[in-house]
Amino acid sequence: MEAIIEFFGRLAEIPANTWITQVYLGLVNGSVLILLALGLTIIFGLMGIVNFAHGTFYMTGAYLGWLTLRLTGNFWIALIVAPILTGLLGAGIELTMLRRVYNKRESVYLGILITFGLSFLGPDVMRFFFGKTGLPYVTPALLDGTAFSIAATNFSRYRLFLIGSAFSLILLMWLLLKKTNLGLIIRAGISNSRMVEVLGIEIRNVWTATFGLGTALAALAGVLVGPIFAVQPTMGDMIIIQSFIVVIIGGLGSLIGAVISALIVGQVLTLFPLLPHLQQLADVVIYLLMAFVLLVRPRGLFGEEGVGE
C-alpha cells in the first residue's frame, strides 16, 4: 500500500510541462508509426505478404532524401523525390521478385523470406554507398525553431509539421481508398482478390501499385524523421519490429486499427519512461501490451476473422 502511495506521490511530482512534452513526442512517434503501419497493413491485406523489408524502404527513403537534399539543397524536393524513387524501387521489386511467388503453394512464407533477404542486405548496401556513420539532415529554415509555447513547453515547428503531414496523409489515404476507383479495387481485393480478378480487373497491376504506394509511405516517413533522428544503416531494424507490433495490435489488414494502435504505441513508448520504478520496463512494455491484446482479442483490436491465419 505504501508503495502505491509513494508511486502516485512521485507521479504527482512530475511537472505538467514534462507530461505535455512527452505526449507531444509520443504523437511524433505515433505519426511515424502510422506511416509505416499503414503501408504494412495494406500490403498484407491485399497481397498476404508480410513485408520485412519495410524498415529497409524506410531507411532507403531517408538516405535518398539525404542525397537529394545534398544535391539540390531543398528539403521540399527531397520530401517528394525520395518517396517517389523508393516507391518505384518497391514496385520494381514487386514486379521482378514477389510476383514470381504468388502462385506457389506457400506464397505467404516465400514473401516473408524474400523481403527478409532484402532487409538483410539493405543496411550493407547503404554502408557501402554512404559509409557507416549516421548522416545529419538540415532542418529547413521555414520549420526551424519553436511554433508556440503552452505552460512553459516549447512545441517545435518541425515536429508539428511532421504530425500535420502524417495526419494529412492519413486523410489522403482515406480519400484514396474510399472515394476513388483504385481504392474501391484495393478494398475489394483485400476482402476477396480472386473475385476481383473474375470481374475482369487486372489485379496484379493493382498489387504493384499498392506495393509501390506502401513503400513510398515508408520512405516518406524516413525523410520526415531525418531532421529529428540520425540517418543510419540500422534505423530500419528497430522500427520494423515496433511497426509489426502496431499492426498486430491493430489487427492485420485493418487500416483504422493501424492508425489507432500506432497512436497508442507511440504514447506508451514516451509516457512509460516517466513512471517511477517502472522506467526500466519501457522497452518491454509494448511487447507486454501486444501479448495482452492478443490474449483478450486474438485478432488484434480491429482484425477480421481468417486474415493471416
Binding site: 538483410f120 539493405g122 526500466q280 491465419e309
Partner: protein, 336 residues
C-alpha cells in the same frame, strides 16, 4: 509415440554404401583439426560451422519438418548461452552438467514460449515469436548483472573436462568436444525425424487438417516439435558460449533468428543435413568474404533471395533432387 515404435524405423536403407559414406563423413569430421591449417576452414571456424549446423538442424525441426516459421529462435540460442554461462560462472558447475541443465532449461523455455506462440497460426505465429524473442532481448539488456548487457557476458572461468582435457584456449579440444556433443544431438534429432513421430510432424506440415482428421492431435505434435527444436537450439547456444568463452548480446537479437533462417534455407529444409551445407556456406561467406569485401551481407542477402526465388529446395536439396531425378530417369530404361 513410445520409444519402441521409434526403434522399429531404421534410418535409411542401411546399405554398405551409405554406411561407408557415414563412416567417411564421421572420420573427416573428427580428423578435421589435423589438416585444418591447410584449408580455408580453420579449426575455430569449423567449430562455429558445427555449432550453427546443430542450430540449423534443430531449427529445421520446426521449420522444415513441422512447417512452423519461427523468427524467435534467437531467444533459445541466447538463453542457452546465458544460462550455461551463469551455471559455469556463478555456480562453478562442470561443463557437461551445465550443458545438460541448459538443455532442460531451454526445453522449459520452449514449453512457455510454445504455449504462448502456438495459440496463433500462420503469419501471426511468426510475428508473435519475433515479438516474444525481442522481449527476451530487452530482458537480457536490462539484466546486466548476469548477461553483462551490451558489453556481453565475459569472465567465463577456465573450462575443462575433468583434469584430462583443457577447453580454454585450446581450439582443437573445443572442436572435438563441440563435435561430439553436436554429433550426439544431431543423431538424436535424426532418430526423431525417422521415428513415427517424425512422420506425423511431416504430415502436419503437409496438411494439418488431414493429419487432424487421421486422429492425430496436431496441436500437441507442433508443441512437442517446437519444444525439441528450442531445446537443441539452446544447446547450440551453450556450445557457442563454451567455444567463444564469451557471449555477446547480438546472439539474442532478432537478426540471429534471421541468420538461422538463412542458414536453414540455404541448405534446404527438406533434407536433414541441409542446414549443415547452409552453415558452411553462410559462415564461409561471413568469414572469408569479409576479408576481401567488408559488406558481405550484400552478397549473402542477394544469394539468399536468389535461392528462395530459383532454388526453393535449397542448395543441398536441389543437388539431391537433381541426382535422384537422374537415377529415376535411368530406371525405366532398364525396365524397358
Amino acid at each position: 509415440m513410445s520409444g519402441s515404435t521409434a526403434l522399429k524405423q531404421t534410418p535409411n536403407p542401411s546399405s554398405v554404401k551409405s554406411l561407408f559414406a557415414f563412416a567417411v563423413g564421421l572420420i573427416i569430421l573428427f580428423a578435421w583439426p589435423l589438416f585444418a591449417q591447410y584449408t580455408p576452414i580453420f579449426t575455430s571456424l569449423a567449430t562455429e560451422i558445427i555449432i550453427f549446423s546443430l542450430f540449423g538442424i534443430a531449427y529445421n525441426m520446426a521449420l522444415g519438418y513441422t512447417g512452423l516459421i519461427s523468427l524467435g529462435h534467437a531467444a533459445f540460442f541466447g538463453f542457452g548461452g546465458y544460462f550455461t554461462g551463469a551455471m559455469l560462472k556463478f555456480f562453478g558447475l562442470p561443463v557437461i552438467l551445465s550443458l545438460m541443465l541448459a538443455l532442460v532449461a531451454s526445453s522449459i523455455l520452449g514449453v512457455v514460449f510454445g504455449f504462448i506462440c502456438l495459440r496463433k497460426t500462420g503469419v501471426y505465429f511468426t510475428l508473435v515469436t519475433l515479438a516474444i524473442s525481442q522481449m527476451l532481448y530487452y530482458v537480457a539488456q536490462m539484466w546486466i548483472g548476469v548477461t553483462g548487457g551490451h558489453e556481453g557476458m565475459a569472465g567465463i572461468p577456465r573450462l575443462g573436462l575433468g583434469q584430462w582435457v583443457e577447453l580454454t584456449n585450446n581450439p582443437k579440444g573445443q572442436y572435438w568436444f563441440v563435435a561430439s556433443v553436436a554429433g550426439i544431438s544431431v543423431y538424436m534429432l535424426w532418430r526423431m525425424v525417422n521415428s513415427s513421430f517424425g512422420k506425423v510432424m511431416q504430415a502436419v506440415r503437409e496438411n494439418e487438417e488431414r493429419a487432424n482428421t487421421c486422429g492425430y492431435n496436431t496441436k500437441r505434435v507442433k508443441y512437442v516439435a517446437f519444444i525439441i527444436s528450442g531445446a537443441f537450439s539452446g544447446l547450440a547456444g551453450s556450445l557457442y558460449l563454451i567455444s567463444q568463452e564469451f557471449f555477446g548480446i547480438e546472439n539474442i537479437y532478432w537478426t540471429m533468428s534471421g541468420a538461422v533462417l538463412i542458414i536453414t534455407l540455404f541448405g534446404g529444409t527438406e533434407v536433414f543435413l541441409g542446414p549443415f551445407v547452409g552453415a558452411l556456406l553462410f559462415l564461409l561467406m561471413k568469414d572469408s568474404f569479409s576479408h576481401y569485401f567488408e559488406y558481405w551481407q550484400i552478397l549473402t542477402g542477394t544469394l539468399f533471395v536468389a535461392v528462395v526465388l530459383f532454388l526453393p529446395e535449397g542448395i543441398l536439396g536441389s543437388i539431391v533432387t537433381f541426382f535422384s531425378n537422374r537415377v529415376l530417369r535411368r530406371l525405366p530404361k532398364k525396365e524397358a
